[in-house]
């Protein structure tokens, strides 16, 4: 029996085989989508870049060389140099760490909070629902970047505070999605069945409702990654995110914009990096949507 047959078996012999088989089926669907594979490639490349930054970078990201400032791309400086003579390629490479850090922290906090609030609200209904959803409405009523700006200026500029601000402003849509999903699930027979077994609301929400909400949420989060990167870059651009000399891509664009007409590479190359990574996450999200669609 080959590994493939074992994975695709109709009669799994154990819990782990059933789970692995399911994952493998999803993987087969995913690999069938070429664009999604491109997206996965970009995201994996971003992770490798962040992990192996010291090996990939040709210079230290903070090393200044004022004699060499604002040089165009060349063999020595692949992406050229900025106004302090720092190597832009190395700064972009190290900047991937910051981007990944922001994206991961936001992805681990906002969707989890939104998922809990949304499922509790949708499952319990009544007053709980009203109170939680009105709080959500308050957050939804502000434009995301404006609210993030307000939080960052209150907390003080810095990358951690930017992450907190982005997380605080991005959970409400997740709560809404999770609530809507929960409301379609909560009256189904399999929820009635587990209620009739005497399960507590906590058990039902955690074990039965959340697993069905996560797939649409994962898709939404991947599609939002681009937005998160852009918000972080926007905060960096306004000087409220990562502080100099950190090589955050948005901050790099911000300083490069003064030289945009004569030394286009200073602002453009970090911009292309943001564009490629956002595109990668969007393509990945599209592919995941096909795999995780609960209707399949």
């Amino acid at each position: 029996m080959t590994a493939r047959e074992w994975l695709l078996s109709d009669t799994p012999q154990s819990r782990s085989q059933a789970r692995m088989g399911r994952l493998y089926g999803g993987w087969l669907t995913f690999t069938g989508n070429r664009l999604a594979m491109v997206g996965l490639g970009i995201v994996v490349a971003l992770m490798l870049m962040a992990l192996l930054a010291p090996l990939i970078a040709t210079h230290h990201p903070f090393a200044q060389d004022l004699a060499n400032r604002l040089q165009p791309p060349s063999a020595a400086n692949w992406f050229g140099t900025d106004q302090y003579g720092r190597d832009i390629w190395s700064r972009v490479v190290y900047g991937s760490r910051l981007t990944l850090y922001i994206v991961l922290l936001v992805a681990l906090t906002a969707p989890v909070a939104g998922l809990l609030i949304g499922t509790i609200s949708g499952y319990l209904g009544g007053w709980t629902d009203i109170v939680l959803m009105r709080i959500t409405d308050v957050f939804l009523a502000f434009p995301k970047l404006i609210l993030a700006l307000a939080f960052v200026s209150a907390l003080g500029p810095g990358i951690e505070n930017a992450v907190i601000a982005i997380a605080i402003t991005s959970w409400p849509p997740y709560a809404r999605i999770a609530r809507a999903e929960t409301m379609t699930i909560r009256n189904s027979d399999f929820i009635s069945a587990v209620r009739l077994q005497g399960a507590s609301p906590t058990r039902i929400i955690l074990g039965h409702v959340i697993p069905l909400c996560t797939s649409s949420l994962i898709v939404r989060v991947t599609l939002d990654m681009a937005g998160i990167i852009l918000t972080a870059a926007g905060l960096g651009f306004l000087g409220l995110g990562a502080q100099p000399p950190l090589p955050e891509w948005g901050a790099m664009i911000s300083t490069g914009r003064q030289y945009l007409l004569d030394q286009w590479w200073v602002a453009t190359l970090p911009g292309i990096a943001i564009f490629v990574v956002s595109l990668g996450f969007n393509l990945l999200g599209d592919g995941l949507r096909d795999v995780l669609d609960p209707k399949n």
Partner: protein
């Protein structure tokens, strides 16, 4: 007379408020003896499933008296109630969690009630409903309708209840599979001494499965009779006779003669 296993007295269920109130069940009273199989029949919307849902604890908006094994039941049920009274749903495609394996579905009630020994219980129950161990780690989408309904029955049985509430357990299934499931339910009742309430619109199913039945129309019990009289067609009420006629297949002359019983 032995004490009733299930007693329902003056059960009233309403939905909605004010002008939009729907009186789904009115003054329903019946008793089911231990080990008996009791049928609730009626056309769609007659309130038979609503009676079952009020009995099971799924719908708390009722008034009247409901008792199980002599104990009066409140609107909120406790674990001890769920241990003794389980339900099988109509649609086996909707009653199993799509992301849980059969194993997980059956392990859940064992964990909730802290019964322990989950492995043995699951194996034994699967065998009882005629599914081999090869089904244990499958997902519902890898099962046929009949197999799913067997899993649903196993899920109800694993708590070793005394009462099973059956909400049209075969109407979503293929005709050939229906017979298998009915035979399974019949055998399980004999083996475990279960008490059944079977809701169905199919008189043949009720005649096969039940000892006694109540006919419902517009939220009221029209008539209670035993299966022998049903087979002989000795119904007292016009509505029941009409239902019997309707169940014998479509006939234009008969259909034209039908009345609306308000």
């Amino acid at each position: 007379m032995t004490q009733a296993m299930i007693g329902i007295e003056d059960l009233d269920v309403t939905f909605g408020y004010g002008a939009a109130t729907v009186h789904a069940v009115q003054n329903v009273t019946f008793q089911v003896k231990p080990g008996e199989s009791f049928g609730l029949v009626g056309e769609s919307g007659s309130g038979k499933s609503t009676v079952l849902r009020a009995m099971s604890g799924l719908n708390p908006d009722w008034s009247g008296n409901v008792s199980l094994d002599g104990q009066t039941l409140g609107r909120q049920r406790d674990k001890a109630f769920y241990k003794r009274c389980q339900m099988v749903f109509q649609d086996p495609y909707g009653s199993l969690h799509p992301r849980h394996t059969v194993d997980r579905i059956l392990a859940e009630p064992v964990a909730i009630h802290g019964l322990g020994d989950a492995d043995k219980r699951i194996d034994r129950t699967l065998r009882e409903v005629g599914l081999g161990p090869q089904f244990r780690f499958r997902f519902p989408h890898q099962l046929s309708g009949g197999q799913r309904q067997r899993v649903a029955i196993a899920r109800a049985l694993i708590l070793e209840p005394r009462v099973l509430l059956l909400d049209e357990p075969t109407s979503a299934l293929d005709v050939s599979v229906q017979a298998e499931i009915l035979n399974l339910l019949k055998r399980l009742r004999a083996e475990h001494g279960l008490t059944y309430i079977l809701v169905s619109h199919n008189l043949a199913v009720v005649a096969y499965m039940c000892d006694r039945l109540a006919v419902m129309n517009r939220g009221r019990v029209v008539e209670e009779l035993d299966v022998e009289s049903l087979r002989r067609g000795q119904a007292q009420q016009d509505y029941t006779r009409q239902l019997l006629l309707a169940s014998q297949g479509y006939d234009r002359a008969v259909a034209d003669s039908f009345k609306d019983f308000a």
